[in-house]
């Protein structure tokens, strides 16, 4: 590692990433203060704010509990038991990520109730999901993969010597699990939990469909139903505070965690636990999960698809598909390009400046998208009106928001590519830019591709930024699913939902295969940065 200060030019992208998020937020504050003091007092001390706060926190905690209950057993089954085929378990753990929350919510609502898919096919009337439990259920089912990926990676990489030692010292298997394995999983759980918390805090679509008022749902409601934006701005600020608190809490809990091996030698592969007679039980659980998270949603979409009779629907689908793919492709390129220098500094330099630089990427990711979109609306109208409601602004918003997702994989490949090769390039007479082009970039190309694929998938699914910032007439898959679902036109929403789910699944599979191929034969000696998710800021390995 190089402790020298990074080249100032390399710092520029970090500066852009920070300013790009902070400047609009300043306008959010200005807009929030833009009211008479009596009105402000009334807004800030509204009892409803407390109710929203309580709901938001309860939902976040509930989803964290729910996702842990699904992700931990599933990760354990996949990583440590003889349940086969393992690939199937991995798929089950990852594929729900391809279904955006609002598509999942749409599908489960359209599946239940009188006249829903389940009623139509079996005559059983299943009460539709709604309220707290509905929101909790849907968010759990479609966000647990974030936690699964982290826990699975950690379980695969844990040195079995630790557990063996505990057993030799007389601990029962259960005690070993509680006293050795669980504490070992803490950092992986924390990073996954943070991602899920950010997701729940920022989600307005699922909670709106389930009619459960949280801060994000309230912002959206104010946005659609009130003539005045002051209260929306305040709610957005409140949500920013809650998100900030969650980040601080995670950083605090992470502090002082050191899990790297200190003894010499390699690690063995983790011990495989034979399930024996418990296997059918495990399969039953897996089947239930697959049913709720994949089969019922996809089945429902296909069922409603048959009922779509509008002949123009297919034309609009093609158009929406093209714009969605276009926006996702452009954003994937810009985001990866901006992520590269950040990851480069993070992996090739050390010291506080380098760490800060890399963390700059997480600012945009942690800012709740609805709040960020509102801030950008206020900002562009006041400062750069020509950008207002344009395609470039939408791309800028995507780039700043998803930067963190792109930094992770690029950094991982940079860490694997030894700087010695770059040094050799320089010694052999290449200039710095030549080294970058002929040595560094070819070395990290796989990482760049994975980054681009992540961003592509995320932009495809993205709703709040797309909804608030798209130029006039710009329709995407996500926008149309949302517009039709909000109006309960399930058949009309079906083609868009299916296109989204299928392209999402395809991308997820591609990423999974790439990651598979890149995974080293022996387990890494320390928890690898979580594969599919951006690693949130954490104490870097010394």
């Amino acid at each position: 590692m190089n402790a020298r200060r990074p080249h100032p030019l390399l710092l520029l992208p970090a500066l852009l990433a920070v300013l790009g998020v902070l400047l609009p937020l300043v306008y959010l504050v200005l807009r929030a203060l833009d009211a008479e003091s009596s009105e402000l007092r009334e807004i800030v001390f509204r009892p409803r704010n407390l109710e929203l706060l309580a709901n938001t926190l309860l939902l976040t905690l509930g989803v964290l509990a729910g996702t842990t209950l699904i992700a931990l057993p599933l990760a354990y089954l996949a990583a440590r038991t003889d349940l086969r085929p393992r690939r199937l378990l991995m798929l089950l753990g990852v594929l729900p990520l391809a279904i955006p929350g609002y598509v999942g919510a749409y599908a489960l609502i359209a599946a239940s109730g009188a006249g829903g898919t389940i009623d139509a096919l079996t005559g059983i009337r299943w009460p539709g999901p709604s309220g707290y439990w509905g929101a909790l259920g849907v968010l759990t089912l479609f966000t647990f993969p974030y936690l699964f990926l982290n826990l699975h990676a950690a379980l695969r990489s844990q040195d079995p010597a630790l557990e063996d030692a505990a057993r030799l010292l007389g601990r029962t298997p259960w005690q070993t699990f509680r006293e050795v394995t669980l504490p070992y999983l803490r950092p992986a759980w924390l990073s996954g939990a943070l991602l899920i918390a950010l997701h729940v805090l920022g989600d307005f679509s699922v909670v709106s469909l389930m009619r459960f008022p949280t801060f994000s749902a309230a912002i959206y409601q104010q946005y659609t139903a009130a003539y005045d934006r002051v209260y929306s701005a305040w709610l957005a600020l409140a949500l920013l505070l809650v998100t900030g608190a969650a980040l601080l809490l995670e950083a605090r809990l992470m502090r002082g965690v050191r899990l790297s091996r200190v003894s010499p030698g390699g690690t063995r592969r983790p011990t495989v636990l034979p399930l024996g007679r418990a296997a059918p039980l495990a399969w039953a659980g897996l089947a239930a999960l697959a049913g709720a998270a994949l089969i019922v949603p996809l089945g429902t979409i296909v069922y409603w698809l048959r009922l779509e009779t509008n002949p123009f629907a297919w034309n609009s689908l093609l158009e929406a598909f093209q714009s969605a793919l276009g926006a996702a492709a452009v954003a994937a390129v810009t985001t990866t390009a901006l992520a590269f220098p950040l990851a480069y500094i993070g992996s090739r330099h050390s010291g506080p400046l380098a760490r800060l630089t890399e963390r700059a990427a997480y600012l945009g990711y942690a800012t709740p998208p609805l709040a960020f979109a509102l801030a950008l609306v206020f900002f562009t109208l006041n400062v750069v009106p020509p950008l207002y409601q344009t395609f470039p602004l939408l791309i800028i918003a995507y780039t700043l928001h998803f930067l963190a997702e792109a930094v992770g994989p690029v950094r991982t490949s940079l860490l694997k590519a030894t700087p010695r090769l770059e040094e050799a390039g320089r010694l052999l007479g290449l200039s710095a830019p030549q080294t970058l082009r002929r040595v560094t970039i070819p070395l990290v190309r796989p990482g760049l591709l994975v980054s681009a694929a992540f961003v592509f998938l995320s932009v495809l699914k993205e709703l709040p930024l797309t909804l608030l910032l798209s130029p006039i007439g710009f329709e995407t898959l996500s926008r149309n699913v949302w517009a039709y679902t909000e109006e309960a036109q399930y058949a009309s929403a079906a083609p868009y939902a299916l296109a989204l789910a299928l392209s999402g699944a395809l991308l997820t599979l591609l990423i999974l295969r790439r990651e598979d191929r890149r995974a080293p034969r022996s387990a890494p000696t320390r928890p690898a940065p979580p594969a599919a998710a951006p690693a949130p800021p954490k104490e870097g390995p010394a």
Binding site: R48, A114, R211, Q221, T224, Y227, Y388, E487
Partner: protein, 331 residues
Amino acid sequence: MKRTLLAVTTLLLAGTSLAQTKTLTVYSGRAKTFVDPVVQQFERQTGIKVNVRYGTDAQLVAAIREEGSKSPADVFWGNSMGALGELAEEGRFTKLGTALTRNVSSDYLPDNRAWVPTTVRFRTLAYNTGKIKPEQLPESILDLPKMTSLKGRIGWTVSYPSFQDFLGAMISKYGEATTRQWLEGMKALQPKDYKTSNVGMLEAMRAGEIDVALTNHYYIQRVNRLSYPIDTYFFKNGDIGNLGNATGAAILKTTKNSASAARFLSALVAKDAQTFFLSVNFEYPVIGNILQPTTMLPYSDVVKRSPRIDPTVLPKNIDKAQKLLRDAGLL
């Protein structure tokens, strides 16, 4: 390489010059289903390209306010008199010429001619015919909170413009205190809020989630086509629960295309578009001589059921209505 660049530049230039020919930007609170066919026909007939920004009325009112003099909007096509009146009060619309409004019924045309009505609809109560008999329902919407038997079985759409207009009209007629009391009484019956989605609300009624719902007349007409067990209940004549409400369109003062904008407005009140609105959405036309389906009450009959509300007072009361809703913890 150079040649490709040249080709791209030429294409881009051609694109911008085409874009400059004639385009009109419409902010529409009306749904795409009703707007698209009319826009397409207008584009074919006039060669003017129309860009439509869709949103709820409130969202577009807020956007027009935020955008101020930089607003790209030429036309505002609103879903409610409240939103139209609000922007009109702020002096954001141009006064329309008499040629445009000559054939339009004067019932809902504002005196200042800041906007022209495009269709008329009425508030009603939808009920599940399998669960409720019309005799059980109150004569006035003011008595709806007394129906404790309906606790948890009522649907409404608090964020929907027509609902907020109705609430604003209630304030105009009975004052803030009575309206607040009515809201509190309703809240005690734990109504289910379907935000802006009347379609979603009636789907929920079909699914058995609720038995009665406050909605606009045409939503019931639309689901009746699908033979849902849902029917229309009008309160007694002149009751605020039967409020008539117009959708309408206006030209923004900030427009640079006032001629195209005026042509677009004329197209909206022409026979073709008016027939289309009636046939696809069962909304009452604003010009005469258009045949109505027999399932709908004749306009002359239904208009008597609605109370008369001064449209110029309405906008001020929409703000009050939104405040009451917030105070009650509903918005």
